[in-house]
Symmetry: C2
């Protein structure tokens, strides 16, 4: 089993996965020239002063002195040149070779042509003022009551803390509209009931007009003020869903091409190994998805900050690259006007763990997206229509980010974690990928994949990536993920709140 | 039954409660001089050009021409002088006469010396990542399981959408800390279990250190990452609460002075009658509370905007008045940097309904606070320690505002509504006061008091205010409010999110 890991065949550095003394063999003819701490980088070949240092196949900085093969590479000999960034578009495209044999999964095909991986009935709220009504309506449909509808996965209430006390236009209002609409039309929902209060800023009727939605047997709306009170609203909501249930139960799984998968790429509670194990493995899975014509949706804009000019080089068109730069500028303004900053530089703890530059840190997060071309950039919750690798704007905060990814159409979630997490979402099942074996073992009831095995069992990034991909296909077909089997996802709907609460 | 309502004995205008033709008798010797629409003002005596027009005993503007008794008073003859405001402090104090006979209620006296109106066990979350764990722990304690603890009102999970992806200092972080701490020490809680994930920004351990909290039989904390997973966290949480239950059940109600009441004053879904019926009636109840040495907590800073210089004249000290002005300045910055504004001017719809100036509109909201001196101004969720009429900073948005009022110590909520609302909160019961009889009748299952009777049954503001006060005492002693009987309050915990989500 190797003492180090190489993240891409083009890299000229590798990462030590345990502390190495001087003289440790790396590759034929290469030995460490001194102590290398765990998680730190080693030159795989001589790197001349001024030459690029590559990790993740990307430039993470430049040698500030001649670096011999086997030398420890860190802040003493690797510099980040903060030159004026020249944005380039499409200069680093790695074309995708489509798989010869398309994979399939068993999904629910909807009238829209989109495919669901689950078959829920959703109770979507416009405002916190209808949260209890929605929860009560959903709670009526116990497993016993649903037992005669075996194809229905459940009745879920999506409740949240916003929807009023906000501006009726602008970024925050538009983001909430997109989330509402994204859940209302999500392919994992067989039917939808929207419940409001009536006088909220986020008007259901306005939304219907905006998106041209019409009420029908599988889509209904109601307001507490119109229905005249909580009890009657709950009773009427239950009646409406009782009529939806037989129709929802008529949907059945059928073979669908893997190209119908749209996977939310997410990390939370990251550690020093996230960028070495779980994120690159998920990135490999994302490349396998891209080869199927499926979609991977990277997000968490603050965490890719500092590496955006490397992502623009992967942009399939200048417009796509420009849209990413526009998001970055928006975030600089958003954080500045909220008295924060976009500082994503490695902290002292990051540096101790082996991260030298902001590029390296940001690339570790972006590694979840693999290496294929960036085929689309989207606003928070905006419908993702491109195939392959895409990006959706969001905060890094897990529930807010995944809520946007699901609204944008993701029917699966792949979540890497180092510290551990009990995250789960509805209506799209989440698999969780541990970055290290210690945490995986400790929280095995919550973890689906152990990417720590790359360090402790000598498995390759590609092998673990293939395991993730295979599991995604099985979960898409109905196999329960760990979080799903535990019933998680009823409390994790958190639309991103942008702007003042009034 | 009168055709008009006078809101204070010092007023020189009254409000028509139905459309009046010319020649309608108002008071001895006063007749309307022309048509007066419903909700509009009538001069009760001659008002010379330049003289102050008073409603709510406050100056709402100045006569722009000589106004005869019986004339319609509106934009054509009433002007708002937007002069540079000279802030005055304590120039309009109406001393409170303490009641000769103190009233009492049956409350739970705590070791802190504070008094609860309910006896809950709380499961408080630091971050959304522990929401499902907390909900599952609380859900274990069904009415059947709690039946052997008759003095315990329930086990409640307080879950929310924030706690990470935020700055670890500044206004937003401090506000969340105050809410956490306010719920952890609330007198309506016999015992508290705090549940976190472990790696969140809003660290439970940091909070304990900040407030000098120590774990004990009635206060426990736990993190999912430490306990190693969701299932074990739920099991351990249930074990901890099972040990708390007999101790919580040992608390019993005992006679307590009404001075221990702290009432959140709130409005939501307001209409043209809010400032004429329900808000002044609640204001009268607030005066009765002040006469008992109890506390009323007005909030919703954006809704008193434009009348803050009238509130400072009621400030018991210059420091209290200055603190209110500081909040106003903060809000101007908060809304401006979020691309909004503090505009609280009457809309065209407001004007059609009879509201002439920003002062009149803001005073209609502030009327909930009655007429006694302003004895304290507090930040969002800051412990309110003054007695009598006080103010706490918050948005107008109901769940966010009430969450702050409860965190600040309120053990009751009085909520006025015109459009209708199904709001309820835990751990502090809410009574709801309808501004109009039509909505009261339609939503009677959710409304506790009909202040619309001031218009339709000729009841006085004082009579309805007394009814509210008496009901507050009964609810404080254990009588269930309408929303409480329906079990509301498990989904309305919404800490005010200030700042960027990262
Ligand atoms: Ca992350
Ligand atoms: Ca995240
Ligand atoms: Ca009881
Ligand atoms: Ca209000
Ligand atoms: Ca309100």
């Amino acid at each position: 089993m190797a003492d180090w890991v190489r993240l891409d065949a083009e890299d000229n550095v590798v990462t030590a996965i345990r502390p190495l003394a001087a003289g440790a063999a790396i590759e034929a003819g290469v030995e460490t020239t001194g102590l290398v701490p765990r998680g730190h980088k080693i030159a795989l070949l001589p790197i001349a002063k001024g030459a690029a240092v590559r990790k993740y196949a990307q430039v993470i900085g430049y040698a500030s002195e001649d670096i011999p093969a086997g030398a420890h590479v860190h802040t003493h000999n690797l510099e980040f040149r903060n030159v004026d960034v020249e944005y380039e578009f499409g200069t680093d495209l790695r074309p995708v070779t489509l798989a010869a044999e398309p994979d399939t999964f068993m999904g629910y095909r909807r009238a829209s042509g989109r495919v669901g991986t689950r078959n829920y009935i959703a109770v979507v709220t416009s405002v916190n003022c209808s949260a209890t009504a929605a929860k009560r309506i959903a709670a009526h449909f116990t497993p016993e009551k649903l037992s005669q509808y075996p194809n229905v996965d459940g009745v879920v209430a999506f409740v949240h803390g916003t929807g009023c006390g906000m501006a009726g236009d602008g970024d925050g209002f538009e983001a909430l509209n997109r989330v509402m609409w994204g859940y209302a039309r999500h392919p994992n929902h067989a039917a939808v009931l929207m419940v409001g209060l009536g006088c909220e800023v986020n008007q259901i009727d306005w939304l219907l007009g905006l998106y041209g939605l019409e009420q029908g047997p599988l889509f209904q709306t109601m307001n507490i003020q119109d229905v005249a009170g909580l009890r009657r609203t709950i009773e009427l909501g239950i009646e409406k869903i009782e009529k939806m249930l037989p129709l929802a139960n008529d949907f059945t799984r059928e073979p669908c091409p893997a190209s119908e998968l749209m996977v939310a790429l997410q990390c939370g509670g990251s550690d020093a190994w996230s960028g070495i194990t779980a994120n690159p493995a998920l990135g490999y899975a994302c490349d396998l998805l891209a080869a199927q014509g499926a979609t991977g949706v990277l997000a968490e804009t603050p965490e890719i900050y500092g590496a955006e000019h490397l992502l623009t080089r992967r942009a399939a068109s200048p417009e796509i690259g420009q849209k990413l730069i526009g998001l970055i500028r928006w975030w600089e303004d958003y954080t500045a006007r909220n008295k924060g900053s976009m500082d994503n530089n490695p902290s002292p703890g990051n540096k101790k763990g082996g991260l030298t530059t902001i590029l390296e840190k940001s690339l570790g997060a972006a590694a979840k997206g693999g290496t294929s071309p960036l085929n689309g950039v989207y606003k928070y919750g905006e419908p993702v229509t491109a195939k392959g690798f895409t990006f959706m704007d969001s905060p890094g905060y897990d529930p807010a980010s995944v809520t946007g990814q699901i609204a944008s159409g993701c029917n699966l979630v792949a979540f890497t974690t180092g510290r551990g997490s009990a995250f789960g979402a509805k209506p799209s099942p989440s698999i969780k990928i541990a970055t290290n074996t210690e945490m995986y073992t400790r929280m095995v009831e919550d973890m689906d994949v152990n990417a720590g095995a790359i360090l402790t069992e000598g498995r390759s990034v590609e092998e673990v990536g293939r395991e993730i991909y295979d599991l995604l296909l099985r979960v898409a077909s109905g196999e329960m993920s760990k979080s799903e089997a535990q019933g998680l996802g009823d409390n994790e709907f958190v639309p991103w709140l942008i702007g003042a609460v009034m």
